[in-house]
Subunit: 494 residues, 2 copies
């Protein structure tokens, strides 16, 4: 199954044909993909095709693939399953390097007709055109502007994370989450039933892809376990591979069968095989996104000692409990550092033992920055976490007669300050920004939260909603690096 | 320590004195509390006190407690710690039933002065005035309009959940979360250092409080373990008690010492004691809120079989994996029910085996309602979950030329439909509404999500952001009821 593949023409095509674009507005996937590529600003040529012809946005709709005048690098096929083989063959003859088949109605239906159609697709793929799908949402490549369906508004900013997904819904959901959470993608491939191109071959490609530094996968089942785990092990030796395996339970296994026609496989075997390959196993889409974010933005090294700073004692207590359960430490700071920190914090109500309780959420950005600088001076500290409950600034604004939370929220100074701390100390800082005030009449808080997240992300500082998610993500990075370098678990940073 | 206490005058005071209200605007807690009580619409008399006198919002500021003309039910004390005993004694002489001391600077400082001041407070409390605090955020009672600091905008809608918290930050954070998540409170008590009124006595009161159906607690340490666990066991036999114990780790234990002057205690002992009392143990604020929501809105019974309906196969796979890991089941539906469901769903791409994949996020509210009605007809199903990715309606709006997501989002029909399903079938439905699209230019999506949440909550239907949180919360309810009625774990619903 590892044939030649011109990935460059597939991910960065100069021209795309879309088979199945109706001239009438509606919900059709082909029409949706046409709109989405236009909205994304895809720079190459787009050739819409439909037997009824017509026009769309001033572009001619070709009645057949054959009559397209120019060359075609890549095809999107979105027509009823029974017509797919013919269209695929036409694209192959036209010289396309690859095609994504968005249509469903193949092996996942578990019917003889569906299975036969998929066999036919495989046969044509074997003659040279590489196939993504069927039953998939396609390819998203921020660099070129290719996008998933329905993805008219995904980010065009490229980044280090590649995502391979058997599930279309998961691919588009993760692409959307990544946009605001700060996960930037090199390429995302939703390969659905995976009749041709799928996990192992794509992993082998990504291993050498210079644009990809982190690989994330949603897997329901694999075609060939031996090939997959061998590709996975080899890849994880060079780049972190985050794997979300869906369908580890009995009913989950049944669900994957009807979803992507995969065999789920036993949970015990999967977990053990993933561990042996040093893959980073996650159990849900948010955890997958948070882990991808941490691997994108944190230096890949072993973290042991963490400082936690926030306004509110219970937050610090929680951080300690979670950290310790993961094997991370929140060590007490050196006495002289503790004394210097306490001397600049408001009294009473503060404490500086680590966790550092700054007593209230209104401590200035300047003081918070100084505390971070001081705490970083303790060699036991590898990474710092700042928890900020920005929502309290809404009551503050009311109390001091300011017009809105935006007038008083210090997120820009905070972001600036944290960046200076990271630059000065060389120790990463993670920011935790929970929004605990989400009622309808607090949209102003939400707006400030989003601006704050962006201000930190623009400086390469990861933001999490929750301290426990942040600590888990740090621990994933640490664990991966520890295993990669063969360091025993407990003696890591000593 | 279990003296007489006129809780009625404390939670529903006709008059409140606030000691420490500056006539100048600023950040002082006393001034903040004055503003907050006004903003909450507290209906009783408010008497501000400050040695400097003056006026605030047209009200006279009294120079001493003694000169207040009327009777005083309850006092808020927010002045420097060293002046607190004198003010407390004045309030006692004035006949107040209770006082909350917001000031910090007592035993939590671990200094001889702080400890002596707290002893003095205890001594005065022993003479009849009951004390909440010191080092606390006070009492929130939606019924009367008492509020926490800083809480000018908490909900006035009362409900079944009482919350007892050693941490002030935790109390105000949970009160804010409850407002939008749909947790409604009977009373919230932040008791800080707990010099007088604290966990055991408050539990005993809540056991018989007719307004309280669910009790939630944030505990760092208890005064008397034997009293506490005996009160807890007795209470949990009648009402669910959700306990979030902070400081179970070594460093967490150190953090609680400087936070509320508590001894943390060993994690193993706590977990085992809580289990023996059939308390519902949670490990973070969001989990605490979600569990409180489930106990507020779901019938207290054993749940085993769950149906899951959503547009997107991977969501269903994930639901199965999580459900099974908890001991819940997502059983395959009866053949004839499955056939009837599949006949009304779009093809291809859908499946009805449970999880029910409705193929895309745009299936109409009418059809979703019919699917829920059909699935409820299977006696294996005790509870239903509907996952709805409303964010996709933003691209839909763009695709069909609608002005905004609000024009096309079906959340009102969905809420109406789900309510009819619950009324008809008697089986609860939980709605999962993840917002995966949180970038700055999608505030429109957030607005619709919040309206949608409210539309469901207004009908008593719980909403979660995440399927796995929803399943965990259901399982908590189920587990509590199973243990309460002594049913063995695995044979529950058979």
């Amino acid at each position: 199954m590892t044939g030649a593949c011109d990935f460059e023409r597939i991910f960065n095509p100069k021209s795309v044909v879309i088979v199945g674009v109706s001239s009438k507005p509606g919900f059709g996937f082909g029409r949706g993909m046409f709109n989405a590529l236009m909205a994304m600003g895809f720079a190459g040529s787009i050739y819409p095709v439909s037997p009824k012809g017509g026009e769309i946005d001033g572009l001619k709709i070709y009645e057949t693939v054959e009559e397209i005048p120019g060359e075609v690098d890549f095809a999107v096929i979105s027509i009823a399953a029974r017509h797919v083989p013919e269209a695929l063959e036409a694209c192959r003859k036209k010289g396309a390097a690859g095609a994504e088949i968005l249509s469903a109605g193949f092996s996942e239906t578990e019917t003889p007709e569906g299975t036969a159609l998929e066999e036919e697709v495989k046969r044509i793929a074997g003659k040279g055109i590489r196939v993504i799908g069927p039953n998939c949402f396609g390819i998203y490549c921020p660099e070129s502007g290719l996008t998933l369906i329905p993805g008219p508004d995904l980010s065009r900013e490229p980044g280090p994370v590649a995502f391979l997904s058997q599930s279309g819904g998961m691919s588009v959901d993760f692409a959307h989450i990544g946009k605001w959470m700060g996960v930037r993608f090199s390429k995302v491939v939703s390969f659905g039933n995976g009749a041709d191109l799928r996990e192992s071959e794509l992993l082998n490609y990504l291993l050498d892809d210079p644009d990809t530094g982190v690989i994330t996968m949603y897997v329901e089942g694999v075609e060939n376990g031996r090939d997959f785990f061998s590709a996975l092990r080899r890849t994880a030796e060079r780049k972190p591979v985050i794997v979300y395996k869906g369908g580890l339970s009995d009913s989950g296994g049944r669900a994957v069968a009807s979803h992507t026609a995969s065999m789920g496989g036993s949970g015990v075997i999967w977990r053990s095989a993933l561990r042996q390959c040093n893959a980073v196993q996650v159990g849900g889409i948010m955890e997958m996104a948070q882990t991808s974010l941490a691997f994108s933005l944190l230096p890949h090294k072993i973290y042991k000692g963490v400082s936690v700073m926030g306004g509110g004692g219970a937050l610090g207590v929680n951080a300690c409990d979670v950290a310790e359960s993961l094997g991370l430490e929140i060590p007490r700071l050196k006495e002289e550092i503790e004394a210097r920190i306490i001397s600049i914090l408001p009294r009473p109500g503060s404490s500086a033992g680590n966790p550092i309780d700054v007593a209230n959420p209104f401590v200035s950005a300047q003081i918070l920055k100084e505390v971070l600088l001081l705490a970083a001076g303790d060699e036991k500290i590898d990474l710092q976490i700042m928890i900020q409950l920005l929502y309290h600034y809404k009551s503050l604004a009311g109390g001091i007669g300011a017009d809105s939370i935006r007038d008083v929220s210090p997120h820009h100074e905070l972001a600036q300050g944290v960046q200076e701390v990271v630059d000065t100390t060389g120790k990463p800082v993670i920011v935790v920004l929970p929004n605990l005030k989400q009622e309808i009449d607090s949209m102003d808080v939400e707006e400030v939260m989003r601006e704050a997240r962006k201000a930190f992300l623009d400086r390469g500082i990861p933001v999490f909603d929750d301290i426990s998610d942040a600590l888990k993500a740090v621990n994933r990075v640490s664990d991966y690096c520890r295993k990669k370098h063969g360091t025993p678990l407990r003696k890591a940073a000593s």
